[in-house]
């Protein structure tokens, strides 16, 4: 049985294809302004990559903020359930998933079957999300992909105390004006995300093994900040960003 999971997030759209319980391929693209098109484009793009015809796909599950705009999906499931299923597939021992996406961060506690026991999401505010990092990268004129590695060179992470993205950005600008090293500022940004997300995740309990999912998992600086703050080891799979799409494809397979 061939199934596809489509995760239309606020910044990027992801798709994953599963055949007989095996991950065959995945793809990531920017969502752009039209979530409906993003769902269609990521689906056809993935099928083209894999040389699979549309008719060969048995079932499709959509997830993410744009889950209800993927008209051709058979079902919409939230990314909370999908991330739990995806993480359980990648490592059945996982008991906690921390997902930091474009516009929200979530902590999910799961049981030994991959079922969601409890979850917590960030306040309706962009601080501690992928969008927050984007804003900071722009202010610092650093490519977001370089953010993680750069922060590892910090000797004294700067303190970013504001809880508001816009105010935090002005804090960053004044740190730049004061001549603070970029690495220290970036490390400070990561630590501020780390402390926010860990405080939220503690509401559901950070039980090891902990897996990080979502695009921000590719930022080693954030992962390190989360580990430092929580005192726990955090697993990051190569498929962190498409974890939700994998979960959706698995749910589609039933």
């Amino acid at each position: 049985m061939i199934t596809v999971g489509i995760d239309v997030g606020s910044i990027s759209a992801k798709a994953a294809l599963i055949n007989a319980g095996e991950l065959i391929g995945s793809r990531v693209m920017l969502t752009g302004y039209n979530a409906r098109n993003a769902g269609e484009n990521i689906f056809t793009g993935l099928l083209d990559d894999l040389g699979i015809h549309r008719d060969a796909v048995d079932r499709i599950v959509a997830t993410g903020y744009g889950r209800n705009s993927v008209a051709f999906a058979h079902k919409a499931v939230t990314e909370i359930t999908c991330h739990a299923v995806g993480a359980h597939f990648q490592d059945p021992a996982v008991r906690c998933v921390i997902d930091i996406g474009g516009q929200d961060s979530k902590a999910i506690a799961l049981d030994s079957t991959g079922r969601v026991k409890d979850f917590a999401m960030n306040d309706k505010c962009a601080a501690g999300t992928g969008r927050f990092l984007e804003v900071m990268a722009r202010a610092l004129e650093v490519d977001l992909d370089a953010f993680g590695k750069m922060s590892l060179k910090a000797d004294r992470p700067a303190a970013i105390s504001s809880l508001c993205t816009v105010f935090a950005e002005s804090e960053v600008i004044s740190l730049i004006a004061r001549g603070e090293r970029r690495a220290n500022i970036i490390a400070g940004i990561h630590e501020s995300i780390g402390s926010r997300v860990v405080a939220m995740a503690n509401r559901v309990g950070i039980t090891e093994p902990v897996m990080m999912a979502g695009g921000v998992a590719n930022n080693i600086g954030v992962v390190k900040a989360l580990e430092k703050r929580s005192g726990k080891t955090i697993l990051v799979s190569a498929y962190a960003q498409v974890n939700g799409a994998i979960g959706a494809a698995l749910i589609a397979a039933g």
Binding site: Y65, A76, V77, T78, E79, I80, T81, D104, R115, V116, K117, D118, F119, A120, M121, D123, K124, R203
Partner: protein, 412 residues
Amino acid sequence: MNNPDKPIDPEREKRKIKSVKRMKDIMTHYYIDAKTTDQTGKKVAWITSGGPVEPLIAMDVIPVYPENHGAMIGAAKMGVDLCEKAEEMGYSSDLCSYARADIACATVNGGPIGGLPRPDMLVCCNNICGTVLKWYEVQARYFKVPLFILDTPFNHTEYTKEAYAYVRAQLNEYIAFLETHCRKQFDFDRLAEVGRLSMAGQRLWQQVLDTAVHRPAPMSAFDAFFHLALIVTLRGTRTVVDYYTELLDEMKTRVATGIAVVPGEKYRLLWDNLPVWFRTRWLSDKFAAHAACLVADTYTSSWCGTLKYLDENDFFGSMAEGYSRVYINIGTDQMAGMVMDMVDKYSADGLVIHSNRSCKPYSLGQYDIQRIVQEKRGIPSLVIEADMTDARNFSESQIDTRIDAFMEVLKS
């Protein structure tokens, strides 16, 4: 009005609560009476929602509730404009949205009913929050009218005789305040009668809410949010007793004939905190789409939750305790205990907690209550961050995802 082109869905019609129309008529008459006192010579007192209204009724003063008005402003989706107006006047956006809407509305006579009638006096009881003190002081200055404050100490652990004596003494001052400003003697026999009607109304309101114990529930918390207005505004009058008798009959008939407010009810949820007035329909449809019914809530039951402290034979004296021990004037442990009692009573499968940006005393302690209920009852819970009136504090897609995910947890 029926649209002739749109066929009537008989199932939907059957589920509609018929008493709604009568309730709307009562509220309309109530506001007309309150806004025509220049013709009747009656006095108007603005009073907080948890305040002791019975002495006002006994004095023929028409009580008017800025908070009920705030709910109407919210439901009419006029909250944001008025909150912004208050912010232009210099009030912080962190201030309660009822307070902002009311303070702004008084200056422009806006809102769905063109503003509240001008008060002759203000009665403020801080059993619901501390904000009302400053809010009512602002309005007392604006309208240049006398203000009476009833200070009900917070019950952190237990109710003390000192707290009783303190509030009991203030009740005498309250009567003296009314005698001065109404220029007539207080009639305690009349108060005893009003007290009896108040308690009868509260008992009936509790019985109405209790019909949702039945599975499937004949009404939901969303219906309670609407029908609540009478026990708040006209408590102590015959009107309330008559109306809730009728509503109770209708609910009993619905139970007997198996009319469910949520067709195919599968999940039963308990709601905590005030409604999100500008999104009640959206939330109601959202939960109903998951076959989930909000069978009870901690908010509407607050207007009958202190019956056990009231004494029909000494209503005046017992008001001291009754008005001090309301749901949000007690410690978190006691609140959690009441939530668990409701979980048991209504057989709730889950708890939906509205963390209300406006109502700090109601929202403080919610994470503890959530933890306690999860530990002791093992049911899942959901926190929704929103506001009762200010729509700027509501993000639809975030709340939509939270509710869907919560229901996925419940169903799995």
